[in-house]
Symmetry: C2
Subunit: 192 residues, 2 copies
DNA sequence: CGATTCTTTGAAAACAGTCAATCTGTGTGG
DNA sequence: CCACACAGATTGACTGTTTTCAAAGAATCG
């Protein structure tokens, strides 16, 4: 399972064998069954998690009790509740496997240690954060400027490799519409 | 004008006089009149900008030609289009003064240099980024889980010091509703 | 004052949500 | 292998919310 991660890293940054070993020495592995949770509301998110295989989502329960999807993450992606991870406070979020998945993870302190030891890795993780900022900003823009249908079409564009692995109601919960509405959008797209 | 910034910093981190001088030596100042733009779509956002006084907004034009507000920033806040700043590519955004404002700014290279010289400052800016990530994630959650009225009420909660300095149509453009809808929401709140 | 910007209002139309029922596909246990 | 349960998707009828368009009413500023 670490192989996937090593490949992922080596395609993106240059590390010595010693550095790879160091990273591996702190890593832990876990298989997660479909529908299993690795983080539940109220728990503290204390790990940085890399997805070697599978599909997970970060979600949060709204005031009506519906699960809303903050984001999906798949092979070669990372997932955590940043807020809880950074503050050390209990999370509002859930992280759940949508498919049987395999992940690598590092405790917060271990990961911090690694970043301290390996500047290239630190720089790389910072780049990832910056990219996710851009993604989030664009999502906010879409959410305040597009109709449900436009949001759906953009979702497909932005997630070409995963949209057909997701049940429709989860896409709906990501877009902020009901599953019925999304079902109708998909059936009768507005022709322009 | 630098005084404000020095005060801002010294309330948050500890720097030597030499470090303050260094920061100041690279800083530039600017006054921005209400309705004036400091960034327009197509330009490259090459500065980190601190607001000493006033109120600005980051916005973007949607496909119907409406200006949508990505965020507001005021005294002791920072504003830039991260995407353009980071990539060096032309921005999709505008930054415009809503009130007569005074800002300090640093060119990207100068700022990078400062961060390299002053680790405490680097750490501080990283903290700010992380906080803004959390803010964005929460905004996304609100946008997919709340009604227009709830969004408005949350906006007031989250922006207690500026919501009454903003014209209503700009709040609407931040929330993703029309000004007419926001006007009605405000007039006839649902009683619960 | 006059011009501009901002806000409000009304009526109609478009859009999205709710509720209830049905349909489909999948996988599990007997 | 079948029957059944279950998760997921769809549909219809209805309700509620938001947008659109047009007009008019405040407020602000030079």
């Amino acid at each position: 399972m670490f192989d996937n991660f090593e490949k992922y890293l080596s395609e993106r940054i240059t590390l010595t064998n010693g550095e790879f070993s160091l990273i591996q020495s702190f890593s832990k592995e876990k298989k997660i069954a479909k529908r299993e949770f690795i983080l539940r509301q109220g728990e503290i998110c204390g790990d940085a998690t890399f997805i070697a295989k599978g599909l997970l989502r970060l979600s949060r329960t709204d005031h009506k009790g519906n699960e809303r999807t903050l984001r999906f993450a798949t092979e070669n992606g990372w997932i955590s509740d940043r807020e809880s991870y950074l503050t050390g406070r209990p999370s509002n979020c859930n992280i759940e496997a949508i498919e049987n998945s395999e992940v690598l993870f590092w405790g917060k302190e271990d990961f911090r240690h690694l970043l301290g030891q390996i500047p290239v890795l630190k720089r790389f993780m910072k780049d990832l954060m910056e990219k996710s900022q851009v993604v989030n900003q664009n999502r906010i823009f879409t959410s305040i400027s597009s109709s449900a249908e436009e949001k759906y079409l953009q979702f497909i564009e932005n997630h070409p490799t995963i949209f057909n692995r997701l049940p429709l109601h989860m896409i709906a919960s990501y877009l902020g519409v009901t599953r019925e509405t999304l079902s109708r959008i998909r059936r009768y797209p507005v022709n322009k």
